[in-house]
Amino acid sequence: MPTEPIAPAPPGAAAITLAGVGYAPPGHPPILAGIDWTVPAGAFHALLGRSGCGKTTLLKLTAGLLPPGTGTVCLEGRAPQGPAEGVGFVFQTPTLLDWSTALENVLLPLSLRRGPRRGGRDRALALLDGLGLGSLAGRYPRQLSGGQQARVAIARALVDSPRVLLLDEPFSSLDALTREALQEDLAALCARDGVTALLVTHDIAEAVFLADRVVLMAAGRITGEVTVDLPHPRPPGIRYDPGFNARCRVLREALDRA
């Protein structure tokens, strides 16, 4: 598979640039058309829209899992052919390997990569510890709850120190309490490492809690964008703040108009 490493970008420079991106599966009408979007380095953006509006397709195009039909996808100034180095991806389901322990699952990206990987084990254990799974590193996925599996998947996406993290509704199958706890962990990890994140979600509160900027999508197009000007770090209690709810409402109304 052709690969091009992406170089670290200075803060504020564009980490992800989509220019005129469109996609149509062979023999089908287009799913996406005319997408222009930029995510600055270190920013956390969310793609919000109803099911089937093309969010996941847009994320896969950004990841290099799909080639764009039209336009270009640039990661830190380069247009890689296929998945690039330095990009982590969290899928809708944890997609853990059933026959590997939590620790082995987290180490998977490093063990598949040729080249230096010193200190990988320590980093993986530190990530699991930070996500509250320190004592469960030796367990197999079937011995973990859904929330714990989702945490392992996040640790796996972060173990190779990605500069860009793409997340495809990673918490959609979890209960509300677990989901909120994971959102808080994710926000802290991304802020700590200065990771540029693009999150696909249909959960308005999730988008407002995590993102600096929310892009609204409907029928394969960007229909609007809203800046979430709440300060970081956002405490869990912010969810009950009138300002938080006001922003959720703005997004809800924008979604209804789209």
Binding site: M1, D98, S100, L108, L112, R113
Partner: protein, 249 residues
């Protein structure tokens, strides 16, 4: 415990019924010998060491045939699982090779590999080949799309994807194919020996028929059943050991 007792009772009832039928209906021993007589012959053959030698020969052919069949079926299966185009191309030939009875190939093998063990191993390998191939292709193709996407995202090459994802995912199916192939290997070896064996259980059955020694034939059939059961249980045990813990669901 009760389960085992029921098994034992059924065995005793079957043997008792057989013994009783032979005493009530005076059938010549050539047609149906009494179980007692079969047991006596079995003990005699075991004590003489002849039976164990035949069993060892047949078991050896099974193992070598299975190994040869697997040596071809696993790589070919992996190749076909990796390439749908190749699979479509090869499929009619593979099916054609399976509908030809292996026995019908025996004269050809006699010509190519000579009379004896080599031809028998080739027949055994051919009999094992198809279930192993089918299960390898099915097993390696079982992996779901999201895990394949994960490996693409992690920029794994084809070889890594095969060894680290497809093989462990398909292992239970591939091992189930081995379980089937082990039993078929015995069929292949014994039938091969019928036609071109000097030694082994199949050759011994043919010799016993030539001598019109029906009790010996029964004793040999029991030995074949015992060998087959042992091989099956062995395969089952190996499967459990390999799949233990990591694959336990």
């Amino acid at each position: 415990m009760i389960h085992r007792l029921t098994h034992l009772l059924l065995l005793v009832a079957l043997l008792g019924g057989w013994e009783l039928a032979c005493r009530l209906v005076p059938l010549p021993e050539l047609v149906l010998p009494r179980p007692g007589r079969v047991a006596a012959v079995l003990a005699e053959e075991l004590a003489g060491g002849r039976l164990l030698r035949h069993m060892a020969v047949t078991a050896g052919e099974m193992v070598m045939g299975l190994a040869a069949g697997a040596a071809f079926a696993l790589p070919v299966g992996a190749l076909l699982a990796e390439s749908p185009a190749l699979r479509r191309l090869a499929h009619p030939y593979l099916v054609a090779s399976q509908v030809v009875p292996k026995l019908a190939l025996a004269p050809l093998f006699l010509l190519w590999f000579g009379f004896g063990m080599r031809s028998i191993i080739v027949i055994t390998a051919l009999v094992c080949f198809f279930p192993l191939l089918e299960n390898t292709v099915t097993g390696l193709g079982r992996v779901d799309a999201s895990r394949l996407e994960l490996f693409r995202m992690l920029r794994a090459n084809r070889w890594q994807t095969l060894l680290r994802l497809r093989l462990p995912t398909g292992l239970p199916v591939i091992l189930a194919g081995f379980r089937v192939a082990v039993v078929l290997a015995l069929v292949g070896a014994v039938v091969g020996e019928f036609i071109m064996g000097r030694e082994g259980l199949g050759a011994a059955v043919m010799a016993a028929q030539g001598m019109m020694d029906t009790a010996l034939m029964f004793a040999l059939l029991l030995a074949i059943a015992a060998l087959g059961s042992a091989a099956y249980q062995g395969a089952l045990l190996a499967e459990r050991l390999i799949l233990s813990e990591r694959f336990d669901s």
